[in-house]
């Protein structure tokens, strides 16, 4: 198949983009929440739901063999996509949140004790706060928070002093879901490793907007979801370094995760199945493999240039709007813009722009502590994906101005 070299060719692959909403052509800018799916992914999901359906790993019949091949093939796709060294390092979960919970439970069980700490950052999504909070409560550990500055950047000057011997793991986002900032994860990983502290990275946004190479990054864990990167909902990945995963005990039991079961003692399966209790979402996993193949078939320079153009365009227009406050360092971000407008509530703006066909996010964006950091109750967010165009960015700006005029 020829490589896709034009945004309009990308758009043609996404049937959802062809629809009208409230009588207007859809301009979908809520990709930070979830993305649409290309035809190849939809076709595979339909095919598996209607024909190629058999539980994986368990039976000798042909359908089971086919789904198992699709499931394990997807694991290879993920491995290649993030440049992991071993297929055993790729664990399928139901999503980023489940991946965080897996590590917060299994890793903490053998590493956290009373008096220890977990370090996160001030700009984390609730999904990378709450599981750690729960683990800390369970083991009598403390949750420490690396502050951010007024532009949303990590206070790297404070990092070393916070990496005390009590810190047993550092868990941070690659790219902020609110600020769109690409965090300096390489530097953080290297500074943590100097002290022998492992690093968990929440890559829910990172996997979509950067080329992730877990081997080069050398992080210990990297988690992401399928549904934000053009695959089905309910599938996600936990990458973990083999030696760490080996020593961790599973936190969910049952299904394919066992080697032998007696009423006295169960021994666990080898990686990666040890952490995949119950029938996994094999259709979701296969859809993720298909989504990866779709992404790999697009000219990478095209995507980078389109993102860069949109970031520059949006930044230049947004800062000119009276009373508009843009959150986060504007010089180091993906096309994701959270803002507030003096005298206009984000939910009002989102409601009016919905009538104009523009899909946005408003509210706390699952980041209440970050809202507090910026002294606001809620924000309005526009987040772009590979299929969004400069014309759509222009339409967004025009509609935003009209909405402000109505409200202020």
């Amino acid at each position: 198949m020829d490589k896709i070299t034009d945004i309009s060719d990308i758009r043609r692959e996404f049937p959802a983009l062809e629809q009208s909403v409230n009588g207007k052509p859809l301009v979908y800018l809520d990709n930070g929440a979830t993305s649409h799916k290309p035809k190849s992914v939809i076709d595979l999901i339909n095919e598996m739901n209607s024909r190629t359906n058999g539980n994986i790993h368990r039976a000798v019949h042909e359908l089971s063999a086919r789904t198992t091949a699709l499931y394990e093939g997807a694991r290879e796709d993920v491995m290649r996509f993030i440049n992991a060294r071993h297929r055993e390092e790729i664990i399928f979960t139901s999503g980023t949140t489940a991946s965080v919970n897996l590590v917060a439970n299994s890793f903490s069980a053998s590493h956290l004790k009373k008096g220890d700490s977990v370090l996160i950052s001030q700009s984390e999504h609730h999904s990378n706060i709450v599981p750690w909070q729960m683990a800390c409560e369970r083991y009598g550990a403390t949750l420490k928070v690396l502050p951010i500055d007024d532009e949303g950047n990590w206070r790297m000057d404070l990092l070393d002093s916070m990496l005390t011997s009590e810190v047993k793991i550092v868990a941070v986002a690659h790219i902020s879901n609110v600020l769109g900032i690409v965090n300096p994860v390489e530097e953080l990983v290297s500074r943590c490793h100097n002290r022998g502290i492992p690093v968990f990275i929440d890559g829910a946004q990172g996997i979509v907007h950067s080329s992730v190479d877990v081997t080069a990054l050398d992080c210990d864990f990297y988690a992401f979801s399928g549904h934000k990167m053009y695959a089905a909902t309910g599938i996600g990945v936990l990458y973990g370094k083999k030696d760490i995963l080996e020593e961790m005990q599973p936190w969910m039991g049952g299904g394919d995760m066992v080697s032998s079961v007696t009423f006295e003692k169960t021994t666990y399966a080898a990686l990666p199945l040890k952490f995949e209790a119950g029938t996994p979402n094999f259709i979701g996993a296969a859809s993720l493999g298909q989504a990866i193949k779709f992404i790999e078939n697009i000219d990478h320079t095209l995507l980078l240039e389109n993102e860069k153009r949109i970031v520059e365009f949006m930044r230049d227009r947004l800062i000119k709007i009276d009373g508009l406050k843009l959150y986060g360092n504007v010089d180091n971000k993906i096309p994701l813009f959270s803002l507030s407008i003096k005298g206009a509530h984000p939910s009002d703006v989102a409601m009016i722009m919905d009538k104009m066909g523009v899909a946005l996010r408003s509210g706390q964006m699952c980041s209440e502590p970050l809202m507090k950091r910026f002294n606001t109750e809620s924000m309005l967010r526009a987040s772009f994906a590979m299929y969004n165009t400069l014309d759509e960015a222009q339409y967004f700006i025009d509609c935003l101005k009209r909405a402000i005029k109505m409200l202020v």
């Binding site: 409230n22 509530h345 939910s347 009002d348 509210g363 706390q364 409200l407």
Partner: protein, 136 residues
């Protein structure tokens, strides 16, 4: 006027709007004209929390009649609130409990009452009914 009559009056008012812009502009206007609750009167005890916007609701009971005042930090929500207040405030608890309001749907704003909107409006109606039950 009965609750039904007020509802009909609102439906008639909204029937002149042919497109959504006019309708929302009217809601914004209503939202701006509602008397605000003083900051000191906005307590956690009368706050109805939604993920999208916040709503404060106060109730007073006098001579068998319930009176409501409300406020929101979002202006469209506040506009819709003002319609709800117009319908429910100054009625007896029995009238409020009996009323099965349908005007929100009839003026095409039902999406604002969906639980997924999380703007506090649905909870506000529940809270109004709760007050009515408490005083009946």
């Amino acid at each position: 006027m009965t609750i039904k009559e007020i509802e009909q009056q609102i439906i008639d008012e909204f029937s002149i709007f042919t497109d959504w812009m006019d309708k929302y502009e009217y809601l914004i206007e209503l939202g701006k004209s509602v008397p605000v609750i003083e900051e000191s009167g906005k307590q956690d005890s009368n706050l109805i929390k939604g993920c999208q916007s916040r709503v404060w609701l106060n109730a007073t009971f006098n001579d068998g009649i319930l009176y409501f005042t409300a406020d929101s930090d979002a202006i469209i929500t506040k506009g819709i609130i003002s319609l709800l207040i117009r319908v429910y405030s100054g009625k007896t608890p029995a009238e409020i409990l009996e009323a099965d309001i349908s005007f929100i749907e009839k003026i095409g704003l039902q999406e604002n009452l969906s639980p997924t909107r999380a703007n506090g409006l649905l909870s506000m109606i529940r809270q109004i009914k709760y007050y009515a039950a408490a005083y009946s």
